[in-house]
Symmetry: C2
Subunit: 230 residues, 2 copies
C-alpha cells in the first residue's frame, strides 16, 4: 500500500461513546438506566441521519440531531421535565468522550509517518472539542459537515481524498464498522478494520474479529501503527 | 474579550513565504533573481484570486492558481523551458514554508487555552503539509477552500465561526494584514494585528507597527500569548 493519509471513523473506533454518555447521564440524571439511555440515543443516530440523507430535513448537524433525539427519548424514559440547561449539557457530552486506551498512543505514532484526520459524522466543533478533551493529535479535522453528506454517502469519502489532495487509493479509512469500510472501498479508498469488542457493552453480541474485505484487520491503533511501520 | 477560538492568517502572519520561496527558487533555478521571482509570484496572488471572486474562473485551489502564475512568470523571466517536474516542485514549495521564529512557541501556548485554527486562502492539503513541515499545532485546518470563497469575502469569516460553533465575537482573527482584519471585523470577529516587518524583505517599506482598529496589536505570537494569558 502506498498510503499517505489515514482517515478515522471516531465514535466507537477512536472513542468510547457508550461509556462516556452513560457516565454523563449518571451524573446529570441520577436514577435513570444510564446505559439504556446511551444505547437508545445512539440507536437514533442512523435513522436521524437518514432523514437528512433522504432530504426530509435540510443539512442538520449531529449536535442538532442529538438534541432532537434526546428530547424524544427523555419523554419516552418518563422524564419530560429535564431542564434546558441539562439537555444542552448532555448534548455536549458527545464532545467530551474519552479515547480508547490505545488511541492516543496509536495516533501519535501514526502521525509521525502519515497525515491523520478524522472522517466522522460529528460536526467540526464537536470533533475539535473532543480532540482537545482527549488529546487526539489530528493533523486536521474532516467531518461530514464539510461535505453536506453523512457517511456512507460517497461524497464524504470522495471529499476527504479531494481535500487531502490525494487519489483515493493513497487514503486509508480506519473504522470499527464494516459498513463504513465497504462504502470507503466502493470509492477507491484502502481500508483498515479495528476490532472494538466493547463498543456496545459486554452484554451485546461482539462484532467480528476481522473484516476479510479490508486490507488489514487489527485489535488496536497501536497494532495498526506497528503494522504500518509507524 | 470572551474569546474561545483564534483563527490565523498564514502566509506572512505565521510563515515566511518570501524566504521559503526564494530558497527553493535558488535551489531549483540557480541563476535567477530568487527574491524577485518570489515577489512577482506573490504579486499575482490577489489578482488570481480576484478572477475567482469575479466568477471568471470556477473555484480554483491556491495550488492551481500558483501553477498558472508560475507558468506565466517563467516565460516573463526568460526561462520558458523549465521542466514539468521542477514546476511541480516549485508549487509544492508553498507547502514547505518555515514558520517565523516565534510562531510554534506562540501557537503551542495559545493552544493550551484556546482553539487554534488556520484561516487561510491556502488549500487544505497545502496547510496540512505546511503544519507537518513546520510543526504548527493546529487544532484543525480551516481554509477558503472549505467555503468556496477567498478572503476577504465574508463567507470565509462567517464560515469559520459557523464551523467552530461560535458566535463571531468569540472568534479572534490574527493577521499581519490590516485588510484581512478589517474584513473580519465587518463580520463581527475580534481582531489581533501582528507586526511582521520582514514579510516583504528588508528593502520594502515596512507595514504599520500597530493597527489602531484592532483589539490588540503585537510584535509576535509569543507576545500575543502573553497578552491573552496563555
Amino acid at each position: 500500500m502506498d498510503v499517505r493519509a489515514l482517515v478515522f471513523d471516531v465514535f466507537g473506533t477512536v472513542v468510547d461513546w457508550r461509556g462516556g454518555i452513560a457516565r454523563e447521564v449518571r451524573r446529570l440524571l441520577p436514577g435513570l438506566d444510564a446505559e439504556a439511555l446511551a444505547d437508545a440515543w445512539r440507536g437514533r443516530y442512523v435513522p436521524s441521519m437518514d432523514r437528512v440523507r433522504r432530504g426530509e430535513l435540510p443539512w442538520t448537524s449531529l449536535d442538532e440531531l442529538h438534541r432532537t433525539s434526546l428530547d424524544e427519548l427523555l419523554a419516552e424514559f418518563g422524564v419530560p421535565g429535564v431542564p434546558e440547561a441539562v439537555r444542552n449539557e448532555l448534548v455536549l457530552a458527545w464532545h467530551r468522550l474519552d479515547p480508547w486506551p490505545d488511541s492516543v498512543e496509536g495516533l501519535t505514532r501514526l502521525k509521525d509517518r502519515y497525515v491523520i484526520a478524522s472522517l466522522s459524522d460529528g460536526n467540526v466543533a464537536l470533533l475539535v472539542d473532543m480532540a482537545k478533551h482527549g488529546g487526539l493529535p489530528w493533523d486536521t479535522v474532516l467531518s461530514a459537515e464539510l461535505f453536506g453528506h453523512y457517511k456512507p454517502d460517497p461524497e464524504a469519502y470522495d471529499g476527504a481524498a479531494r481535500l487531502l489532495g490525494l487519489p483515493p487509493e493513497r487514503v486509508l479509512m480506519v473504522a470499527a464498522h464494516v459498513g463504513d469500510l465497504a462504502a470507503a472501498r466502493a470509492r477507491g479508498l484502502r481500508t483498515a478494520y479495528i476490532h472494538r469488542p466493547r463498543e456496545h457493552g459486554s452484554a451485546a453480541a461482539p462484532p467480528p474479529e476481522t473484516d476479510p474485505e479490508a486490507d488489514v484487520s487489527v485489535a488496536s491503533l497501536t497494532e495498526l501503527a506497528a503494522q504500518l511501520g509507524a
